[in-house]
Symmetry: C2
Subunit: 387 residues, 2 copies
């Protein structure tokens, strides 16, 4: 079936794989000798290269933010409704970049990639990566595109953490930073859920200490459990209730342990879909990067100190029903920025979806981010050059 592509879509897009043949020094002390970054861009870089916007993806996201890879694509990129000509992040104004994080499984070098030293997939030999490492690799990517300064770096959830880290690590290369549905560090509960997810993966006998790529079976049961659990934390109690309630697939209790409630079926469906597209070792790496993120740690646990030398303006947004990263967590960021006399706009968005709200077409959220970015465009004087 051929996809009818809307007029305000970025249309058909082609991912680019770029080799970085210089060693990347990682936070862990390890070095990645060379690596690929898979990325996409939308819109056009203007002549003074002032209109670049970097989008950072969340745990299960990738570089394919918007548009379609072909007319046969069933679904567009993961944040498509936000990106395109005239959309929230307007490709008539901005040149948008998003790369798959290293350690990922969507084209950038990760555990499923061939380790050049061994001629085998890295598996557990792939080094533990951090938010800082991702930001560093993204900086090298924009270097390679000839871009010195980003008009904005934007991210939701784990992407919001990368955006914050950008502002901290490259204060003179970011003009604006949008931190959406994020937190300045994971809570104890957040880490606890991540640990259960990791244990589910690692205790799957098919995990084989992470060396499962050349075997018949993958640790799909473990990864499925991890995803099911994650999914519960992405949605609000209320959203689950509204969507599934206590509905039974067959209308009555069956007194067995097969799928019976609609919510069970939904989680199963989400889990099964996920294991077809995602790598278990990548899941381990992404959750560990989340656990480690804590920019205040090097500053006596003082977030203000960690943010004291940022120079960009901030857009921070949270969602009322997000219990994974409660609005209070965003307020910690806002408070630290205000204490340090930084310029910050904050939106607490009334929405029922829970953490996943950051991906949703919530009008007040879309309008808020649009209006912020319109001001960014006006203030920086960015405009698309005439074609």
């Amino acid at each position: 079936m051929t996809q009818e592509i809307p007029a305000d879509s970025v249309g058909i897009v082609t991912p680019i794989s770029q080799l970085f043949d210089e060693p990347l020094q990682l936070k862990s002390g390890k070095v990645l000798k060379s690596y690929n970054l898979m990325y996409e861009t939308y819109g056009k870089l203007n002549s003074d290269k002032s209109n670049a916007v970097l989008i950072c993806h969340a745990l299960s996201g990738d570089h394919h933010v918007a548009g379609y890879h072909s007319h046969n694509d069933k679904k567009p990129g993961w944040w498509d409704s936000f990106i395109g000509p005239g959309r929230v992040i307007d490709t008539n104004k901005f040149f948008i970049i998003c790369s798959n994080n290293i350690g990922g499984c969507s084209g950038s070098t990760g555990p499923s990639s061939i380790n050049p030293d061994k001629g085998q997939p890295y598996g557990p030999d792939f080094p533990v990566v951090t938010i800082e490492d991702w930001v560093k690799s993204q900086a090298l990517l924009i270097d390679s595109l000839g871009i010195d300064t980003l008009a904005a770096v934007i991210g939701g959830s784990m992407g919001g953490m990368q955006a914050m880290q950008w502002a901290i690590d490259y204060p003179h290369r970011v003009k604006n930073c949008a931190v959406i549905a994020a937190a300045p560090k994971l809570s104890t509960q957040n880490i606890a859920f991540n640990e259960v997810a990791r244990k589910a993966i690692m205790s799957d006998p098919n995990f084989a200490d992470g060396r499962y790529y050349n075997k018949g079976e993958k640790p799909n049961q473990g990864l499925m459990l991890a995803r099911m659990l994650g999914h519960i934390t992405y949605l609000s109690d209320e959203a689950l209730k509204d969507k599934f309630g206590r509905d039974l697939r067959e209308g009555e209790f069956k007194f067995h342990f097969d799928t019976e409630f609609e919510i069970e079926n939904y989680l199963k469906y989400q889990g099964e879909k996920f294991v077809g597209n995602f790598d278990a070792n990548t899941y381990l790496l992404m959750t560990k990067a989340l656990d480690y993120f804590d920019p205040a740690r090097l500053y006596d646990d003082d977030l203000g100190k960690a943010l004291s030398h940022v120079t960009c303006d901030f857009f921070v947004a949270s969602f009322t029903s997000d219990w994974r990263f409660d609005p209070k967590r965003s307020m910690e960021i806002v408070k630290a920025l205000i204490d340090e006399n930084k310029n910050v706009s904050y939106m607490e968005i009334e929405a029922p979806h829970g953490h996943d709200g950051f991906l949703m077409d919530v009008p007040v959220y879309m309008n808020g981010l649009r209006s912020y970015l319109d001001r960014v465009a006006a203030k920086l004087g960015v405009k698309q050059d005439a074609c």
Copy 2:
């Protein structure tokens, strides 16, 4: 090491195993031909048998509520600090009974018991049991003790659901019903967490479709995951933060996937401890009974209707930091009772522990329950007969 037993403890107690040789008709339509109930009692039944209090246990609880099984016991029963001479549930006034639920793994007939038809453990052939079934078996137990009417039935969490069901199913055999940290039915999110726990157990290869008793290995990894996950939901975000924060076992990031944060270590410890004492098939049964509990279901989802014919007085209590069964869930019960002109006392207890608060020595909670039960004793004129 010999245990120093406090003067206000019930002291050394001996569990009793009682055979019920009459078929038990279960809600599922299946029949348990005969079964054992393991139970304990504390205090003395008075001559008019009016001072009996039934305690119903929660998911991982059992019949051993108070006292010690021997002087070598390291720990007393699971609610010991509430039960004894002069304690909250005062054995100078009340005769207290608690039985292990059928389907359990602490002495009452359950999946690890020998199926008399096959000479092998029941395993997955043990029928799915419900809160109603448990209440029915408890009623038969008090029949066998010659008790017609309970001064009170008391339970926290899943125990609170059994207490509610008692009031509904045996309105003329219960004078008071204490429903603590419970809910009138599981939320969609509650069911979702239970399903992930069950899937963790059932996808453990050692689960062997539930027939693991005579094999070398048990589904310990799956049960451990279930318990770790459960544990997160029993504690509040704040309690986890206060107890473990983001503390690292070795003070710095290790860039590996072994136990690193203190919270990870705690969950591992809790999980490992649990699998030594609990049966995976029982975990499946208990969570399913929780999922099914919904007394309003037979009354057009009208909880008031379901409670319309109860005759006892109610004590309902919730804990502010309980996100498993939020105080709002208890308020649903209170509201339904008030709408039906029933007598209900309600306490919302300010406490940081989360759902586990119902097991904790929170003074305002202990005083509230004590004062309620003192009035019960006074109103019913129950007193211990002179020894």
